[in-house]
Amino acid sequence: MKRWNALGSAALAAGLLFAVALLAQDTPGPSGAAKGGGGTPGPGKGKGKAKSAAPSLPAPRNKEGRVTFGPGPAGTGFWGGGGSIVGRGGNNLPANPLLEEVPFQPWAKALYDVRRSDGGQRDDPHVRCMPPGGPRQFQTPNGFEFLEQPETKRMYVVFGGGPRSWRVIYLDGRALPKMDEDSVPTYLGYSSGHWEGDTLVVESTGYNERFWFHRGGLPHTDALHLTERFSRPDFDTLKYEVTVDDKKAYTRPWTGGFTVPWTYTNWDGTPGGEIQEYFCQDYERDTQSFQAK
């Protein structure tokens, strides 16, 4: 009996530690972000380190002269957590709408208020390891990086956090698929992009409704269409702007964004500048198998 109690206590403690670890890694969105850039760990907020106050180097360029989003000759580093598309200050863009300026439909505003009332994590699917689509991809802990593959005309966005997923952005000029009742919407949607000078412009649709597309729980529906603009004004800064068009949740399209800092160390602050191995496991139920042999 004592052995079972000990095992039960150990399992409970492990479960609690796991839950605390998850919660610690993804904190509330717009409400906190409006005050100072959001609570996502990252350079200046978490243990990962951005460059010091020295002026940033120019953004790296490929042999055609276009800006790239990778580490360039330096070879290491990745993008840390971003801010919020609502509210100003911190990493948020100065033209962002304030919360009261977001054109919510009444149901969406009411639902968002409830979600925020519990610190922005009440029933957050991301805490249950559901993949983060839309801007949420760039707000998650553990960082992300872009891998461009010119020979296949694709850009991959690789995420170090959550369920460790990747997103494909097609750069071959293809049109977005028409979504109808036979379509299978997904967490990361369907993305087609092109370069406008040094800015990558990506149109995406085909999202399901099983996730929150922004930290803190901004609502969306299967009508969500995103237009994202990625640029890199200097080596240490990724600028992210997104226009949210979802007529079922918002009365008109609206735009917000944030910057994301380049991270020079590992996420835990140790030297390296690599995305470290991390897996979010969905609702671990097999605690009985944790018995000591």
């Binding site: 009742e181 609502p219 969306h220 949740a249």
Partner: protein
Amino acid sequence: MKLRAILTMLVASVALSGQEGHPLVGSWHGSLGDSPAKQTDATFVLKFDGTNITGMINPGLEVMKLQTATLDPSTWTVHLEADTKDVSGKVVRVVIEGKIQNITNPRRTIVGTWTQGTTKAPLKMTRDD
């Protein structure tokens, strides 16, 4: 009966993608009745086009298409109306009044009443995950 079950499953499987979006969208299963021993199963399939809530009750051979469907987000109160027929074939209005509970939970519930003609019964529906 088998056909109704198959139709219900087919309709429900299409609607399962709704979960974190509009709180009513998706399929709901539950029952109504005065006592736990006397419960009648019910199914709702609800959609939202950005303006209107549409859908049906009990998809299948005895389907009731919604005539009215509203949600008051200030109280999360739901109002649904549909027509059915009594044993004599006379059209009878079904009115459902309820409130969504656990609004942020994927398996949220609608708790309220089902009024059919002069008969009123408690109702509880749970959103399919």
